[in-house]
């Protein structure tokens, strides 16, 4: 199979790979790992390679709101295969605060240019939540992030909410949620939103979603919470290497007892593995080296909604899991409703400023506080 045939468009992934001199073997092995990651049948790697090779470089606008940059860190620190990083290069990343060379007005101009040139075709990745209590809590170039989101998403093809902040509100939404933080899905109603939760998400899961989009030109199959089923279909507990110990009722009771030394189940030390849907136990971290439970610490459940309010972290889960999940879903809905109410209240007074892109800054924050 000719991976980089002459007929490929100059902006195709294949043409870019050829320009970079990427070895065919490396590319094929990357496609095989992608096929496995996307849970495709064995033998699909050739089809994946052909599709990725012919795909047009996907324009991506990455917006960072109330976040810690851990998600971008996770993605950039992905170890292997090294082509993962390359794939990241192979999308046309037109706007990303941490990684882009442009700054100031040039950076914003790049976002506007990408939106104009790829109208209806670009992908928006968001990390971080949106504060609705006061737009001044998070602004970029004097524009509230709620406005930036609305403006950027208007002509996007789809939105990927990366990290627990973008997917569920995240740490900024921890009780008492001082900024009125809401997830992206509660503000974007007319575009498909893929949630890739995790604090941070596994790098291969982020690239896996992008690769799926590049390969098939559509989003992967999602569950009821908008998460790709291929990565979030099973709990950490379902695939945990310590699972045989749980099955036989063998639990570590403290972090330095005999059970802990023998690698027994960490449920009694607060492990959230049984209620946490993520791929850590199979994909692992740092190039497949390990994951928290393998390092001797229970899962914190960082990819579940409101995990930060589900403490204390070092006490065993006590409530039936089905109930707690339902309660959480209800709480998320209530939180989003409260956030929308605040948004509605703010929209009126801020609408004039939004229309004119009038900067919102510290002064607005102080004014609101004074009321």
């Amino acid at each position: 199979m000719d991976l980089f045939p002459a007929g490929l468009g100059h902006d195709s992934v294949g043409a870019e790979l050829a320009r970079r001199g990427v070895p065919r073997r490396e590319f094929l092995s990357f496609c095989a790992s992608l096929a496995a990651l996307m849970a495709l049948p064995a033998g699909s790697e050739a089809a994946v390679a052909a599709a990725v090779s012919a795909a047009r470089r996907q324009s991506v606008i990455w917006l960072s709101f109330q976040e810690c940059t851990g998600c971008a860190e996770s993605l950039t620190r992905s170890h292997s295969p090294s082509l993962e990083n390359l794939l990241f290069d192979l999308i046309s990343l037109d706007y990303q605060h941490t990684l882009q060379a442009a700054s100031g007005e040039a950076a914003e101009a790049a976002r506007m240019a990408a939106m104009r040139e790829n109208q209806g075709k670009y992908l928006v990745i968001v990390d971080g939540s949106v504060p609705l209590a006061n737009p001044g809590y998070c602004t970029i170039a004097g524009m509230s992030v709620a406005d930036i989101l609305r403006e950027t998403v208007a002509n996007a093809m789809a939105v990927v909410a990366v990290g627990s902040c973008a997917a569920y509100g995240g740490l900024p939404a921890a009780q008492p949620n001082p900024t009125g933080a809401v997830p992206i899905s509660s503000l974007v109603m007319d575009k498909p939103v893929v949630n890739v939760p995790g604090c941070p998400p596994i790098p291969t899961v982020i690239t896996g979603v992008l690769a799926y989009f590049l390969t098939f030109g559509r989003l992967p199959e999602l569950d009821a919470q908008g998460r790709p089923k291929a990565f979030y279909g099973e709990t950490i507990h379902d695939r945990c290497y310590r699972r045989p110990f749980y099955d036989q009722g063998k639990f570590a009771e403290s972090f330095d007892d005999e059970g802990a030394r023998k690698g027994w189940c960490l449920f009694k030390l607060g492990c959230r593995g049984p209620i946490t849907y993520n791929a850590c136990a199979t994909t692992k971290w740092n190039g497949g080296v390990s994951f928290p439970i393998q390092s001797g610490h229970g899962c914190l459940g960082c990819s579940e909604a409101k995990f930060w309010d589900m403490g204390p972290f070092y006490q065993p889960l006590s409530t039936p899991t089905a109930t707690s999940r339902m309660n959480l879903a209800g709480a998320a809905v209530a939180g989003a409703a409260a956030g929308l109410a605040v948004l509605a209240a703010n929209l009126g007074k801020k609408s004039a400023a939004q229309a004119a892109h009038e900067p919102i800054g510290v002064a607005d924050l102080v004014k609101d506080k004074a009321k």
């Binding site: 849970a39 033998g43 279909g233 507990h237 045989p244 110990f245 099955d247 049984p274 889960l317 089905a322």
Partner: protein, 168 residues
Amino acid sequence: MSNSPDIPRLEAAFRELDARMKGAPGYNPALSVVAAGFRPWQGHWLGAVITPWAVQLVLLPGEGGEQPAAPGERRSRAFPVGERNLMGLELEGYGLLEAAPLLPSVQAMTSQGEAESAALAALAALMLPEGTPAFALAPVPGAQSDAKAPVKRPVSRRDFLRGRLFGR
């Protein structure tokens, strides 16, 4: 170890454990402890143990087989379907055995019958040669399929048991 497995003692040991596992995450009160499908296998006894918190593949050491894995030791064992990692464990009230999860979760099971038939189907699947098409097996409750997915080749038993069909 005797020539036949002491199933009543095995079930009694798991029932003892059941009293301590109540309230654990994933505990399904619709299920109860039953050992099922034990048959001679490579000088040992191999079968499934259904409990309210897990369905396990269990190997009980027999007289004819090689030394079983020590507690905490993982041993790769070759089944017709492929290799599976079993772990040596000391079950209080029974003794040494090897075990591995047979089904990922029992949370969605609605009855004991459902759990038992799923366990036996998974056990049977271990003994079929690799590449056996999925339709040769009874459907596994909880395994999802997507009729609209473009299945381009027969779904292998391995994919089927993982519940990951094309396009998922």
